[in-house]
């Protein structure tokens, strides 16, 4: 009987805006180990688990959705309105492309 195939976690890279870096006292780039499927929801959950200070600061506590003045980008794509449970582009999942969390440039 063959042993169950182990799924190796992959390292995704998340880029945080300055405000969240200071909030979580973390660097601008945060590496996260995730097993497939690498989705937006699982990525953000892993980020919050690593830095609970970010809980509610990216995903709204009440709605469970991306906070409206934040956007997600990766590989030159705007992923803000993508299904949070859909697999992220391969470039993000393999760590080639950064998953960027960006605040809207608005209002000073």
């Amino acid at each position: 009987m063959k042993p169950a195939q182990q799924i190796s976690p992959q390292t995704v890279r998340v880029i945080l805006p300055f405000q969240l870096q200071t909030l979580a006292r973390c660097p601008a780039e945060v590496p996260l180990e995730l097993t497939p499927p690498v989705t937006q929801r699982r990525l953000l959950r892993a980020l919050e688990a690593r830095y609970p200070e970010l809980s509610g600061a990216i995903v709204d506590h009440a709605t469970g959705k991306r906070r409206p003045l934040l956007r997600f980008f990766a590989g030159k794509q705007d992923l803000s309105h993508h299904d949070p449970d859909a697999p992220l582009p391969e470039g993000v999942a393999t760590g080639r492309d950064e998953f960027i969390i960006l605040g809207a440039i608005a209002g000073g």
Partner: protein, 395 residues
């Protein structure tokens, strides 16, 4: 020897100003949470080293920060001593900052709509914490007034928050409209003689009182007059800017309203006007001398369309008779070309024998009078716009 600690919330961070009892030389520390709006910083009367701060912005939402060492270091309450990760039930370890309206059948109230400025209906949505009120005898108990208006309480040092939903369930909520700054619960007064009694005020619903610890609430706006409200007997809708109370006389309340300075001698059941000879009775801040419940302070602002002092001259006014007979206090304050505002939470007093009065401006100054208002000095001059000022007297 006594020391004074001033807690200032500003548009771009919190600052802590420290001095001795002379209150002449000040050390300024900060900004803490640089770049964030800090609506309020408050210290626990039960443990002066326990501080709570409301940190928020539109992008990243609401954060509650707590210090256990008088402001030298800060942490979110959920993080202290907790190893990050996910609990077996799927919840996050170390997470806090959840302000969720209670809609449970047991203790909650239906999440209704409220009115917008144009009378259209908006859903009740949490935006931020405007005001923190630590309880007098327990450093882990603290109340939070929030926008959209509601009252929350934590009994575990800010780790978790529960809504006192009886207020939102008052019944008049669907008629409430926001003031210019938002539909905020900005004032929380705790009756020191009666733990079941709490006074709150909402812009622009009015003032309310509970006598059963928050289960039920009574609108206490009788006697208030607002030209924009067609019904002179309207139970709610008045834009109350701030309430003040002296702990020795919790049945006497002072109010700075959107026009008019008011007083109640029966815990808010009826109000009467005490504006008297003020140059203008519009303003935001109001406070009471630490040792004399009849000495009241306001900062007159020209009008609801012109949020700056009359004649460009910054003045505090003091009444020694519980309202009325107001005297101008301006020695040491800018006498011309001053067009700043003083926001509702930006005035406070210390409890030294010669009571100190403090206020912060939207121009980034904080002023202090070490002699109950007779003379003033700027103790900070170049801060970001000041949103709130609280003072701790450390003995």
């Amino acid at each position: 020897m006594s020391k004074i600690r001033v807690l200032a919330g500003t548009r771009k961070g919190a600052f802590i100003l420290s001095s001795d009892a002379a209150r002449r030389q000040w050390q300024i520390d900060g900004p803490y949470f640089g770049g964030w709006e800090i609506y309020h910083v408050a210290g626990s009367p039960a443990d002066p080293d326990r501080l709570y701060a409301s940190q928020s912005n539109a992008w990243f939402g609401q954060i509650i920060q707590r210090s256990d060492d008088g402001g030298r270091s800060w942490q979110q309450p959920g993080n202290k001593g907790v190893e990050p990760g996910i609990n077996p039930d799927g919840s996050l370890r170390g997470s806090s900052n959840k302000f969720l309206y209670d809609t449970s059948p047991e203790t909650g109230a239906e999440l209704t709509t409220h009115q917008w400025y144009d009378g259209s209906l908006k859903p009740w949505e949490f935006k931020r914490v405007w005001h923190l009120k630590p309880a007098p005898h327990d450093p882990d108990t603290v109340y939070a007034g929030v926008e959209d208006a509601a009252l929350f309480r934590s009994t575990d040092g800010g780790l978790s928050w529960q809504e006192l939903a009886g207020l939102r369930g008052h019944g008049s909520g669907p008629l409430w409209q926001p003031g210019a700054g938002g539909m905020c619960l900005h004032t929380i007064l705790l009756d020191p003689d009666n733990p079941q009694r709490i006074f709150i005020a909402i812009s622009a619903a009015g003032a309310f009182r509970t006598d059963d610890g928050g289960k039920s609430w009574k609108a206490i706006n009788k006697g208030l007059h607002s030209d924009y409200i067609p019904d002179p007997d309207a139970e709610t809708g008045h834009c109350v800017h701030k309430l003040a109370m002296h702990p020795s006389r919790p049945g006497v309340l002072y109010m700075q309203k959107h026009w008019d300075v008011m007083r109640s001698d029966n815990a808010g059941d009826l109000w009467h006007e005490v504006s008297d000879n003020l140059p203008t009775d519009f303003g935001f801040a109001i406070d009471v001398h630490a040792h004399d419940p009849d000495i009241v302070y306001v900062v007159p602002i020209k009008s609801d369309m012109e949020h700056y002092p009359p004649d460009g001259k910054l003045r505090v006014y003091r009444s020694r008779s519980g309202g009325g007979g107001w005297e101008e206090l301006s020695r040491g304050l800018p006498a011309k070309n001053c067009y700043v505002n003083v926001l509702r939470d930006a005035m406070a007093v210390d409890s030294l024998d010669d009571c100190g009065i403090y206020f912060g401006t939207t121009g980034g100054q904080i002023y202090c009078s070490a002699d109950a208002g007779d003379n003033w000095q700027a103790i900070a001059e170049h801060l970001p716009p000041v949103l709130s000022v609280e003072v701790q007297t450390l003995r």
